[in-house]
């Protein structure tokens, strides 16, 4: 609410309306119960995630006092146009409106936020026969213990102290990291890696680009003293759209050993890149960027880890990609988008579907990277049927079993 108050004068530069409200007192002419009722409605909407400021509430009073209020059939569309800001608001508004004005006060439906009441998650059972024993010691809820350290960014001193340890960690297969402290360090490193990637990308762009054109406005201004002869030319550098990164993370059972780390990585990426979107899939696809935008790392990662855990069955990569192509691709992919798929390629769906969807995706985006933790294993060959089907459409097929392999991606991203 404080935020609303502060923003209002800046946002609402409409003295005409304010004075009109004051002049004919339409705001005041309403009866007190009506005003209270409207305030209650605004509150209900806010509780349902609508963003309503003081300005909107005031405009609503003006509407109630206007001729439109006499016809209830007009009141709903009027308030809807005023209070809604997004398509999802639009879809939910009617239900909330009807419940509030037609029924008695509806029970306030709180928006899910935080995971304070999240049930304790039991450590998952890992069924894969080829998983080494020590890997079993990596419980998902271990994350709760190490958030303090992950949240404080590694400042100069901390980094120097941990340098040798860090070196060691980057080369260790993520499966083998079991000590809580090591896990914490790894997570911090992952987040930092994502940031570094972003910084390096931006810098390289600026140095690399030679696309320049004449800035006529400035040139003329500077050459008036030369009598209009253009001696002193001003150039303009073309602004480059930042690279957008879309990450699709496989959170199926076969990937479970790596999921916790990649969820961290995802948070780092979404946090660091100005344009990044994250999706998690197993048997179906979920758009997780909004939950990851939570500045509270603990909450964001926990929320996501819970989401990623709702699985026992296989992976349906093809299906998930189809969902992505059909519902999300148009919105999240532009001409400067690199898609990063993190998966082991064990697909329980039909390979033909996967290859078809990969083909579609390939046409839309700039580059597809497929990170496969299994590549890091000795004697691995991409023989899973899903992997075979997807390979022709992949620009970069790279290992992602340790931090060093993630770091190795950075120069590649910079070249895109």
């Amino acid at each position: 609410m404080m935020g609303d108050l502060q923003e209002v004068p800046h946002l609402r530069g409409d003295p005409a309306l304010v004075s009109r409200l004051r002049r004919d007192g339409s705001g005041e002419s309403l009866s007190a119960p009506a005003r209270r009722r409207l305030a209650g409605f605004s509150r209900t909407l806010r509780n349902n995630g609508f963003r309503i400021g003081l300005a909107e509430a005031q405009d609503a009073l003006a509407i109630l006092a206007s001729p439109a209020a006499i016809q209830p059939a007009l009141l709903k569309p009027a308030l809807r146009a005023l209070f809604c800001a997004t398509h999802s608001d639009w879809d939910r508004f009617d239900e909330i409106f009807d419940a509030f004005w037609r029924g008695r006060n509806m029970r306030q439906r709180q928006v899910l936020s935080g995971t304070a009441t999240a049930p304790h998650v039991p450590a998952r059972r890992i069924a894969e026969a080829h998983v080494p024993q020590e890997a079993l010691g990596l419980p998902d809820h271990a994350e709760r213990r190490n958030d303090d350290s992950a949240e404080t960014p590694a400042d100069g001193r901390g980094r120097r102290e941990g340098a040798s340890r860090t070196e060691l960690l980057t080369a260790t297969d993520l499966r083998h990291i079991v000590d809580p402290d090591e896990i914490a360090a790894t997570h911090a490193l992952t987040v930092r890696l994502a940031r570094v990637m972003r910084v390096r990308l931006v810098r390289r762009e600026q140095i690399r680009k030679r696309g320049r054109r004449l800035d006529l406005r400035r040139t003329i201004h500077r050459n008036i003293s030369h009598g209009g002869t253009l001696l002193d030319l001003t150039w303009r550098r073309r602004k480059i759209k930042p690279l957008r990164l879309v990450v699709l993370l496989d959170a199926s059972g076969s990937m479970s050993l790596y999921t916790a780390f990649f969820v961290r990585f995802l948070h780092g990426v979404v946090d660091a890149f100005r344009e990044a979107e994250a999706f998690v899939f197993h048997t179906r696809l979920a758009h997780v960027s909004p939950s990851l935008r939570d500045r509270d790392v603990t909450r964001a990662v926990e929320k996501l880890t819970l989401m990623a855990q709702g699985i026992g069955g296989g992976t349906r990569i093809g299906d998930s990609l189809a969902t992505f192509n059909r519902w999300h691709a148009r919105r999240v992919i532009n001409s400067r988008t690199a898609v990063m798929i993190v998966s082991d390629g064990y697909d329980t769906g039909a390979p033909s579907q996967l290859s078809e969807e990969m083909r579609r995706l390939r046409r839309r985006c700039k580059k597809i990277m497929w990170l496969n933790p299994l590549i890091g294993w000795r004697d691995y060959a991409p023989q899973a049927r899903g992997m075979q089907a997807a390979l022709p459409y992949i620009d970069l097929f790279a290992p992602a079993h340790n931090l060093a392999s993630l770091a190795a991606l950075e120069p590649y991203l910079a070249r895109i």
């Binding site: 923003e7 800046h10 946002l11 609402r12 530069g13 409409d14 005409a16 309306l17 963003r51 400021g53 300005a55 909107e56 405009d59 003006a62 509407i63 206007s66 001729p67 439109a68 007009l74 569309p77 009027a78 809807r80 146009a81 005023l82 809604c84 800001a85 997004t86 398509h87 608001d89 639009w90 006529l216 406005r217 003329i220 201004h221 008036i224 003293s225 009598g227 209009g228 602004k239 759209k241 059909r326 148009r330 919105r331 532009n334």
Partner: protein, 293 residues
């Protein structure tokens, strides 16, 4: 001049815009609350048409700004007339004027070229400013636009601040290829336009394709509604429906059931990718036809 809501609804019909039930209320609110209107919806549902209809309703000029990636202030707001400036410098120098005087002269209003945003605030009568596909423009431009929409004044460094002589009615449209900022959304009224239902689409066909008979219009609308339910890459919009209806009318088709082959062949009006075309086989089109006609 503020119109009543009913007047707007009547006038929309009069100018040939078949409105969905709530748009008239939103357009009335724009005037009442002096807020811009943000329209969202799938491509091809007729967002731009709302702007045009609004201009027609108020008998106002329509000023349109099409957004694109890399749109900057030069293209959206103002530009100097460089050729004339250069000529003026030469001409005045030859009569011995000093540099300061020349500078003052060439950066005067005479040499200023209006672009849509500046034009919209400098008219005598409030125009309708249609900012189309705002999501294609950069975030920086969106922030600049937000400032303009709340202050309605523009600062030109060489000239000073230009205040609005009139506040335009502003309609923004977005295809949701990029998420717009919360600040902008809150500044605007919001209306989501869906594909028209069958009755409304039939009415649109009747208005826009003169001479077509009502039964055919209804059949076409039903068929298009069925096609939209198929799993297509590019869902046909209202413009495609109108093309198709006009084509069928031109081919003198009177009843869709009689001419399945003509239906199949003219379906290219609706399906704009090779993939969709391949999906809509004779069997599929026949099946849909059986359901709707």
């Amino acid at each position: 001049m503020t119109l009543k809501r009913e007047e707007i609804a009547d006038k929309l019909t009069a100018v040939g815009y078949v409105a969905d039930h709530d748009i008239a209320t939103a357009l009335w609110l724009m005037d009442f609350l002096k807020r811009p209107l943000l329209l969202e919806g799938e491509a091809g549902v007729g967002k731009t048409e709302v702007g045009k209809a609004l201009a027609a309703v108020h008998g106002a000029e329509l000023i349109r700004l099409q957004c694109y990636e890399g749109l900057d202030q030069n293209a959206a707001l103002y530009e100097w007339n460089y050729q004339r400036q250069l000529l003026a410098i030469k001409a005045r120098e030859s009569i011995g004027e000093n540099a300061d005087a020349i500078e003052e002269h060439i950066f005067s209003e005479k040499y200023l070229l209006e672009r849509p945003l500046l034009a919209a605030i400098r008219r005598d009568k409030p125009p309708v400013l249609l900012i189309d596909e705002l999501d294609r423009a950069d975030e920086e431009f969106e922030a600049f636009l937000l400032e303009l929409l709340s202050d309605f004044q523009v600062s030109v460094p060489e000239l000073g601040t230009i205040k609005a002589t009139t506040i335009p009615r502003v309609v923004l449209t977005s295809n949701a290829t990029r998420e717009l900022s919360d600040a902008l959304r809150r500044r605007c009224l919001y209306h989501y336009i869906d594909f028209p239902d069958v009755d409304r689409e039939a009415k649109i066909i009747l208005t826009r394709v003169p001479g077509i008979d009502a039964a055919l219009a209804l059949q076409v609308a039903r068929m298009v509604a069925a096609v939209r339910k198929e799993d297509l890459r590019k869902v046909p919009g209202v413009a495609e429906t109108l093309d198709w209806a006009a084509t069928l009318f031109g081919l003198e088709v009177h009843d869709l059931r009689q001419e399945p082959e003509a239906i199949y062949e003219t379906m290219i009006c609706l399906l704009k990718t090779q993939e969709d075309r391949a999906r809509m086989t004779r069997e599929v089109s026949g099946r849909l036809l059986g359901k709707v006609a």
